[in-house]
């Protein structure tokens, strides 16, 4: 076996090695966090729509994403109901409501879903429990999302507080998560919705939900809907509307740009740190490298040596970076009460490992320029 000189050189200088590992780990953590947020943007969109019991969605062309919609006439879902393949259509009302924490008396915006209690709008089975069904039908009673931020106050059934200057009673709970746009969610009946978010007429809806008969082809139904419906609504399959929301978050807002920049800046910082470390290491070994050349080692050997050092640093820095990032993901999920679905994914772990190796290799390639200039004639 070849003497593992790259490894031995690195571990020989303990302090330098620790600094290098810390530097790489730092960059790795930043990249993981940025990619994590970016990924949770995408996931959030899917998360909400996947809880909705519909195959095709109608929205206004002015809608940006689920919390920024524009109401359209309820007639559209009545028209849609006649299309072959459609099993059922349901209106969904959405809006924001100021929710007062009964303990601190502080108000915060809650995102509210208003539904017809007879419609199976959501897939969460707990919504179908007799207690929740009964609660949905009571006046001034709402169901609260367990994943709402703790700042909204107690979620116990029977808690009475104020929402939009009216008294409100918590009648039940469910788990959903608000994603990026909201810190907490409520579900209430359309009748309650009309009163809390007055003046909103129930003949204007925010989303039209269409459930298909088993075996119906969503694309075919969608085409038919597009044909018969006026241009004041757009028709999307579930996958399409998830992508539309995701694209909105990632491209149309500066959030996506911000996180992408975050990744790039972190990598550049990493390149600079690793370059510094490698350059110092090379500078202090020029005599030895020149000697190796005098002995008959060629440029390629030195090149490989530096690149090996770079890759070792990448892997050594990646490991603690990965572990800390997993911890931070956990922390973020807990801080957002599960509302921000940020978690480690194999594909992301691999991507970041590749990026880290790439980052260190770039540093290696820059600094190796110095090592290969080691002139054997200089050692005499």
């Amino acid at each position: 076996m070849r003497t593992p000189i790259a490894w031995l050189n690195l571990v020989h200088e303990k302090t330098r090695l620790v600094v290098a590992i810390a530097g790489v780990a730092f960059a790795v953590i930043l990249v993981f966090m940025n990619l994590g947020f970016l990924g949770s943007l995408a996931k959030t969109a899917a998360l909400i729509y996947n809880q909705i019991n519909a195959d095709i969605f109608l929205v206004s062309p002015q809608a940006l994403e689920i919390t920024t919609t524009k109401a359209f006439p309820i007639e559209r879902i009545y028209q849609a109901a006649g299309v072959p393949g459609v099993e059922r259509t349901m209106p969904l009302y959405v809006g924001y409501l100021q929710w007062r924490n009964p303990i601190t008396r502080q108000s915060r915006a809650m995102f509210v879903y208003g539904i017809n209690p007879n419609d199976p709008v959501f897939v969460m089975p707990e919504l179908r429990s007799p207690e929740n069904q009964a609660a949905l039908r009571r006046w001034d009673t709402v169901l609260i999302d367990r994943l709402s931020r703790p700042e909204f106050g107690p979620q116990d059934i029977g808690t009475v507080t104020e929402a939009g200057r009216r008294n409100v009673t918590i009648g039940g709970q469910y788990s959903m998560g608000g994603g990026f746009a909201s810190d907490g969610t409520l579900i209430m009946s359309d009748q309650n919705f009309r009163r809390y978010l007055a003046p909103i007429p129930l003949n204007l809806i925010n989303l039209g939900l269409i459930k298909l008969e088993p075996g119906a082809d969503p694309q075919q139904v969608k085409a038919e809907l597009q044909r018969i419906l006026p241009k004041d609504v757009l028709v999307f399959t579930r996958q399409e509307i998830i992508e539309r929301d995701r694209d909105y978050w990632i491209s149309a807002t500066s959030i996506g740009f911000m996180f992408t920049m975050g990744v790039i800046v972190s990598l550049v910082v990493g390149v600079v740190i690793v370059y510094q470390i490698l350059y110092t290491d090379i500078a202090s070994h020029m005599k030895q490298y020149a000697t190796l050349k005098a002995m008959g080692y060629n440029k390629r050997f030195l090149f490989a040596l530096i690149l090996q050092e770079a890759i070792i640093l990448a892997v050594l820095g990646y490991i603690p970076g990965f572990i800390i990032a997993v911890g931070l993901y956990e922390l973020t999920t807990r801080a957002t009460a599960g509302g921000l679905p940020i978690g480690m994914e194999v594909s992301r772990a691999v991507l970041v490992l590749v990026l880290t190796i790439l980052m260190c290799s770039i540093s290696g390639l820059i600094s190796v320029q110095k090592a290969v200039t080691a002139d054997p004639a200089d050692v005499f």
Binding site: H12, M295, Y297, N298, P376, F380
Partner: protein
């Protein structure tokens, strides 16, 4: 006393011998540093043959071109003009990659030991063996040569834990482990005290005699001249004299010798 002539400064008395009797054959070798107005000549028309198995000492004042000459012979620099045959191979006109190949057959000993601090004595020596891709035997070879230079008990020490003389002996072991036919040493004793300097040179002499190596040593150290079979004096880039130890000592009274050697 000093012959400044462009003609060969000594006679070739072995004209009849075949090429492979020589480790080094130099004909009309000149060397310049720099280009254009800055171009300066440092070696003038050098002619020199080194017979195999000889220990040759190269002396001369500072700046006379000793290091330049030895680095040309060692294929560490590209030779520019004339002819320079090392171990039967013509070096003039070789490219960098070809020079690297030539160097693998030469053992170098430098003024500084240039060992890797991160590697043990054995690993430093093994780096040389690895050039031959001799993976199986490298540890045994390193241990054997380190024992020969008197470091059997220090095989796994890192340079930090070795004295200056011991480090230089590791460097010698590294230069010798591949049994190169030619060994080049530039002031190998300069960083050592008199006693360890002496030990190091005696060791080189012993190993060279045992294994029939050719050794060229550049030195300012008069106390080690006695190991030489032959002493060459380089002055201002020209070979001035070539003689055996006796004639060298007889013709150079110590005072003038010292003076000349340390003139800048």
């Amino acid at each position: 006393m000093i012959h400044h002539s462009t003609a060969p400064s000594f006679e070739f008395n072995d004209i009849g011998l075949a090429d492979d009797q020589y480790a080094v054959r130099i004909r009309n070798l000149s060397h310049h540093f720099g280009t254009g107005d800055l171009k300066t000549q440092v070696l003038y028309d050098i002619n020199l043959d080194l017979k195999r198995g000889q220990i040759v000492i190269l002396t001369g004042p500072s700046g006379s071109g000793k290091t330049t000459l030895i680095s040309l012979i060692g294929a560490l620099r590209s030779a520019q003009s004339g002819s320079l045959k090392v171990l039967g191979k013509e070096l003039v006109g070789l490219n960098k990659a070809q020079l690297v190949e030539v160097r693998r057959n030469i053992g170098f000993i430098f003024q500084a030991h240039n060992l890797f601090d991160s590697l043990t004595a054995s690993q430093n020596v093994e780096m040389a063996v690895e050039l031959l891709e001799d993976w199986g035997e490298k540890r045994a070879k390193a241990a054997e040569i380190l024992a020969k230079v008197g470091l059997a008990s220090r095989v796994h020490y890192k340079p930090k834990a070795l004295s200056g003389g011991q480090k230089q002996r590791v460097a010698i072991a590294r230069a010798l482990v591949n049994e190169p036919a030619l060994i080049l040493a530039d002031e190998p004793t300069a960083a050592l005290d008199k006693k360890s300097g002496r030990e190091v040179v005696t060791l080189m002499q012993k190993l060279a005699k045992e294994q029939g190596r050719t050794i060229l040593i550049v030195t300012h150290d008069n106390s080690i001249l006695d190991v030489a079979d032959r002493i060459i004096n380089l002055v201002d880039g020209r070979l001035e004299s070539d003689q055996s130890l006796e004639t060298f000592v007889n013709t150079h009274d110590p005072k003038s010798l010292d003076r000349r050697m340390f003139i800048m």
